[in-house]
Assembly symmetry: C2
Homo-oligomer: 295 residues x 2
């Protein structure tokens, strides 16, 4: 394997990140604990899925790492850049669905793929609020901006736009949330990219936890909960209809339960639901229909 | 339009079916009423969506008809059989999600497509129980079998197999439910096919209502409700990941709310959920993993 050292370094990074994030979320949650599932991939490699259900802060969340390798599966061959008959992929993927509708759902992912002579990183993080607190969106984006700009001046603005276009539901005319960053296949020195990816990964807790701490104690009732469950339906629609990682993972024989840990715990679909004009719920819709600059 | 008379006849049929089914379901429900939404398609045509939410028997359901026509949309051109720059499509599609976990969810669809010299019918009906009552599955299949065999001896067995392969979730190794029938593009005399499609459409109430009436009064609690909501998650996974009508409809600018009325009202996703060995819940899993002959 041409990129064995890089793959090893990325594996060490994602395992370290997983440990740090799991520990910090458990400490913040106070009640929930992450279960641990180690799994093997029949074709080569495996992963460790950490899932928390029924916490005080996090209603359902997962922080997964995997390192898989082996012959390129037939369904992957045409869609995976590079050439060569073997591949390796190392990544961390997390999704946290908070219990309180005031606390935004969040997702972060960093990954390295290698095939033949080619090795490339990708990743991103985004925020999906149920109610809009402008300072929360600005904070989240500001932390990610810092991580990006320290390594590649000018990158944040580009990856923010990429995130806005990626997390989009055309059939709803809505973005998934207030965005974040999304990047893939930067084409530079892979060891420099590894430090960028590390910085993005480490910025996640600074970006999300202060928001969660700020909003978790606010009281909420049936109205906020129903809105949250309806909006979670859009999260499901995006992940199953559009998310390349989800669809590609399921099609190429990825571990179903690890991939679908991203789906929210309780979800509602109502026919033709519209929030009241002028309500806070409608204010959220406006901002996810027309992305803003936050940082 | 080459097939104008056929399209008109199919439209008359689906409107008549819609009226009959809505009336019968309302009468059986006793509490819920179908709202009515008429909509226009910018490219030509439109439809009438009938949706019932919060009924006594039906927690959420829709019985939709549409008749659309016009220039073939670019994204449709390569995937739609026939040639010619214009198309017409007429169909009825229904999904009923019952409140009680003892009553199975059901779906039925009949449709006519025409493009240039080609006109072809398609349709089907299937049953998605949360608990297995063998006599219910046999009854549902028996009614459909009657409708098929009256018109095309030998067709039921074939369309039952087509249904089993179509309503399959590869990432779960599960079929959507206990099946039914599914057929498309039969290639015969279209007017004879119209009577077949009519018979399938009219058999729906006879196939499903007696089952619903038989099971609706059974008591249920949290255990059955949670299992129902978890299984509804599989319904969502199938419709968003695999159902051609849903994906094709959303991609080609169909009316989102009419298409997604098929999604259940309340759904749960739990990480790596497995029913207890020997339980009724596990008995259901066995039958949806290995389809049986029912009629």
């Amino acid at each position: 394997m041409e990129h064995a050292r890089l793959v090893d370094a990325m594996e060490a990074l994602v395992l370290d990140l997983q440990g740090a994030i799991v520990a910090a979320i458990e400490a913040a949650d106070g009640a929930g604990r992450f279960a641990r599932d180690a799994w093997q991939r029949p074709g080569g490699g495996g992963g460790v899925t950490r899932v928390l259900a029924g916490g005080a802060l996090v209603e359902k969340g997962g922080v997964n790492v995997s390192r898989v390798h082996g012959p390129v599966p037939p369904r992957m061959a045409a869609r995976l850049p590079g050439d060569g008959d073997t591949f390796a992929a190392v990544g961390l993927s997390l999704v946290l669905h908070p219990r309180s509708p005031w606390v935004p759902t969040t997702h972060m992912n960093v990954r390295l793929l290698a095939r033949g002579a080619k090795a490339w990183f990708g990743g991103g993080a985004d925020l999906t609020p149920y109610y809009l607190f402008e300072e929360d969106a600005a904070w989240f984006h500001g932390e990610l901006r810092g991580a990006c700009e320290r390594h590649r001046p000018g990158s944040y603005a580009e990856w923010k736009r990429t995130c806005d276009s990626y997390f989009f539901l055309p059939h709803r005319g809505e973005h998934r949330g207030v965005g974040g960053i999304f990047f893939e296949d930067l084409g530079g020195d892979p060891w420099k990219e590894l430090s960028l990816v590390e910085d993005v990964g480490r910025s996640f807790l600074r970006a999300w936890l202060p928001i969660a701490e700020r909003r978790r104690a606010l009281a909420w009732g049936d109205r906020e909960r129903e809105w949250q469950e309806i909006r979670r339906g859009r999260y499901v629609e995006f992940n199953l209809l559009h998310d390349r990682g989800t669809v590609f993972g399921l099609e190429t024989g990825g571990r179903t339960e690890s991939i679908l840990m991203s789906l929210p715990p309780r979800v509602q679909w109502r026919y033709d639901h519209h929030p009241e004009p002028g309500s806070e719920e409608e204010r959220l819709l406006q901002v996810i229909r027309t992305p803003r600059d936050w940082a």
